[in-house]
């Protein structure tokens, strides 16, 4: 075949490829009609790769929050109204890429703040960048804590706002109360650290952990793990599940087939399954199992209903909202409140102003604490057959966050306080 023909063939494959995506772009943001100036913020999540599934919902929520703020007159700083613009960067589900794109947003685009991240590994990769450049990251996901950076604000739950109350509930008040625990997770830092804490906690409650196992990310062959569970829990018990994304699908489909079901006395408590995941996995596999979150879509307050409704209006009626999205929504509003309080976009002033800021979030009132985490309400829910959580328990008010866990031996007796220069990242209580 002639060279030109081959060239042509090759070129068409490239051109065809790129033209398919070319129509994917969207409009930037709803404008602010009476604003004087603009401020550009950074959004950094995975838009491609394995994590894109989860992280794209956060981008949607953050865009929505920014549009809401713009429509309501933008951010008012130093007597001027600023319209918020945003630059979305793709972390590509690759931790070093998160670090690279952070550098770009800070050095090249000079954004005052970056909203971003999902996996702990991506946060850990970004952290040194923000610390060495003294820039700002807002991180919206419940995580394992044991970290307290002066350059990150964490709006997700710490273990004492999610896994600890959940473990206590499972051991004391669930139908499987007093039975042994089995811990299942994906093989990365959040499940490992979270399970370390759970093991210590179960021990102090007087229960037993009869086994734990981890599935490598990207692997969906769960048969060996299920075999282990059946062997370790012959008469039912509690399974604490910290599997990631699509591994949950394989897990829940297959445990049902071998009879690991609530009917037979097996109760799974999952820390990574929210409404979004329920609708993907299918409620028929999950009904009767448990979840613990700060926000659940079934919360029946005006703020919660408004949040869910505006999200559906903006992105489609079949979409759902869940805890990570609510955290992402909150952090944009908290940043707005902080810069308005500080009267400037300057890093240090905003950092000081942010502590103590309150926001009437969809989950109820939240407040930024001196350790750069949020005080939040904790809820335990049981998954129903229509894909929602039936809220069984919720704490009376917001629970204070602990950046350093009080069950894990390495951090017991430590705390974090950035408002007091003598205390800082990790001080003894």
């Amino acid at each position: 075949m002639s060279l030109t023909k081959r060239l042509f063939l090759g070129l068409t494959s490239v051109v065809l490829g790129s033209s398919i995506t070319a129509c994917g772009g969207g409009n930037q943001s709803v404008g602010c009609t009476d604003c004087d100036d603009q401020i550009t913020v950074g959004i950094l999540h995975s838009l491609s790769g394995t994590m894109a599934i989860s992280e794209s919902t956060l981008v949607d929520t953050e865009k929505m929050a920014i549009e809401e703020i713009n429509a309501a007159g933008g951010v008012e700083v130093g007597g001027k109204r600023y319209e918020i613009k945003y630059i979305v960067e793709d972390g590509a589900s690759d931790w070093p890429t998160f670090a690279e794109k952070s550098k770009k947003l800070i050095d090249q685009d000079k954004v005052p703040v970056v909203f971003g991240g999902w996996t702990s590994a991506s946060r850990k990769a970004m952290l040194p960048v923000y610390e060495s450049k003294d820039a700002f990251l807002y991180y919206p996901i419940q995580y394992e804590a044991q970290e307290c950076s002066n350059n990150i604000f964490y709006t997700g739950a710490t273990p004492n706002q999610q896994s600890e109350p959940a473990t206590e509930f499972m051991f004391k008040r669930s139908p499987a109360a007093g039975k042994p625990f089995f811990l299942v997770g994906s093989d990365y830092v959040f499940p490992r650290t979270s399970n370390t804490i759970t093991k210590e906690q179960v021990k102090s409650l007087g229960g037993t952990v009869v086994g734990e196992d981890y599935l490598p990310l990207g692997n969906t062959e769960v048969a060996p793990i299920i075999a282990k569970i059946k062997k370790a829990l012959p008469n039912g018990g509690v399974i604490i599940n910290t599997l990631n994304g699509d591994q949950n699908v394989a897990f829940f489909k297959q445990i049902q087939d071998v009879g690991i079901t609530p009917k037979n006395g097996y109760y799974v408590m999952s820390y990574s399954i929210a409404e979004e995941e329920i609708s993907t996995i299918g409620p028929e596999f999950l009904a009767g199992h448990y979840g613990a979150w700060n926000y659940m879509m079934s919360i029946n307050t005006p703020q919660s209903r408004k949040f869910a409704r505006s999200f559906k209006n903006r992105w489609g009626n079949d979409r759902v909202v869940a805890d990570p999205q609510e955290s992402a929504y909150n952090m944009v509003y908290l940043w707005k409140a902080a810069v308005e309080k500080a009267g400037t976009f300057d890093d240090n002033a905003v950092r000081e102003a942010l502590v103590g800021v309150k926001f009437n979030a969809p989950q109820g009132p939240v407040q930024v604490m001196p350790n750069h985490h949020l005080s939040q309400t904790v809820r335990i829910g049981q998954i129903t057959s229509n894909g929602q959580f039936k809220i069984l328990e919720s704490t009376d008010g917001p629970v204070l966050p602990q950046a350093w866990n009080q069950f894990a031996p390495s951090s017991k007796g430590f705390a974090c306080d950035w408002t007091d220069s003598r205390k800082g990242e990790k001080y003894r209580l």
Partner: protein, 384 residues
């Protein structure tokens, strides 16, 4: 006894998924010498076909037959992956015969495009495109020879392709309007739900046998048997083997080698589609579903030896059983009072990640003794 039986079943269950996934790869590699890195993505297409079939069967008209959708899905997946495979063979791989390394790189490129395709293009449009291709390729074959080979053949070809395109567009718009879920592009993973008769398990001798796993074992068994029959007994199977053994001689004897290439690659790809159905029953369906199986498939092919189905079968089941033995820490259960150091070693490898590490190490050690796999091709060959 019960323990060994359970372990054996688990091993066979894991192995049969590996086998069905590797079967098409082994055929294409063994008979054509082509390494197809897009095999995982052909599986993914099969899995997505299952998903779409399931949604179509949820429409009111077809609801009464919902329980049988898996059987229809197998046929659909075979066709879809087969057609895409044939297209791949005609457009790219044909140009690269005899250059296995180049083929490997080109098929990797194809796999990237296919992955991004399902992310960026609504599934309904993808289905329409494939139906158009299927009809466009089939029509000239179905129509009688005399009808095509007159002097208007160009117009007839044009006509059949435009009919195919029209039907494709109609399918796409019909699907996207009646099933809104697949009318929009989405990077989200989707989920195939097994019909109710396939859920749950059968209790026998104190062991629960999950029905899904049994169904997959049966699908695998049928696929292996029919491939064996096809290659050994049918006319085209014999032609395929003839071309593999001596291409120019077969050509001289009047076997259309091009048709043989198309057929072999089509069947190999179609089997990837069937594997996709099996995989979709076990986990979620997403753009990356193929990637998680492909390396395991290659291990099976390398271990089993090229061009030998028995080798492939034995290799898959050995890897499956080993995965279960090591990964679930069964050695400790079978032999509870193992000496301390050995027990801690076994325990160290008793996680899914470490089991993979160990199995690979074992395969490399095995290849030191049998470099050409379990069943090497017989005869003296000049290395090329």
């Amino acid at each position: 006894m019960q323990l060994i039986l359970e372990s054996l079943f688990n091993g066979v269950a894991i192995g049969s998924v590996l086998l069905i996934a590797a079967l098409g790869l082994a055929i294409v590699f063994g008979l054509m010498g082509v390494i197809n890195l897009a095999h995982g993505e052909l599986m993914m297409l099969g899995a997505y076909s299952t998903y779409i079939t399931q949604l179509i069967f949820k429409l009111p008209i077809l609801m009464p037959f919902y329980n049988a959708y898996v059987i229809v899905a197998i046929a659909v997946a075979f066709l879809v992956s087969g057609v895409v495979g044939i297209l791949l063979e005609r457009s790219v791989i044909r140009r690269l015969y005899g250059n296995p390394l180049e083929t490997l790189l080109a098929t990797w490129g194809v796999s990237l495009i296919l992955q991004q395709f399902v992310r960026s293009v609504p599934l309904a449009y993808g289905a329409g495109l494939i139906i158009a291709l299927l009809l466009g390729l089939l029509l000239p074959i179905v129509l009688s020879k005399e009808f095509i080979s007159n002097r208007y053949d160009r117009f007839i070809k044009l006509g059949s392709w435009s009919i195919a395109t029209l039907i494709g567009v109609l399918t796409a718009s019909g699907l996207s309007s009646s099933i809104s879920k697949i009318g929009r592009a989405s990077a989200r993973n989707v989920d195939v739900t097994a019909p109710s008769w396939m859920r749950g398990g059968i209790d026998l001798w104190g062991i629960t046998f999950p029905v899904t796993r049994l169904v997959i074992i049966v699908i695998t068994l049928i696929s292996v048997l029919s491939v064996t029959w096809f290659l050994n007994r049918s006319v085209w199977g014999i032609r395929i083997r003839a071309v593999t053994q001596n291409r120019s001689m077969s050509d001289c004897l009047g076997i259309s080698t091009e048709t043989v290439d198309i057929l072999t690659f089509g069947i190999g790809s179609g089997l990837a589609g069937v594997a996709g159905v099996a995989v979709s029953l076990l986990g979620s369906v997403g753009p990356n579903v193929g990637g998680s199986y492909i390396v395991g498939c290659f291990m099976v092919v390398v271990l089993g030896g090229v061009g030998n189905l028995i080798g492939t079968v034995i290799a898959s089941f050995s890897i499956g059983i080993l995965t279960d033995l090591i990964g679930a820490g069964r050695l400790l259960t079978i032999w509870p009072d193992m000496p301390g150091p050995l027990a801690s070693t076994v325990d160290f490898f008793a996680t899914t990640s470490m089991a993979r590490v160990l199995i690979f190490a074992l395969i490399v050690i095995f290849l030191q003794f049998r470099p050409a796999g379990l069943f090497p091709q017989k005869g003296r060959m000049v290395e090329a």
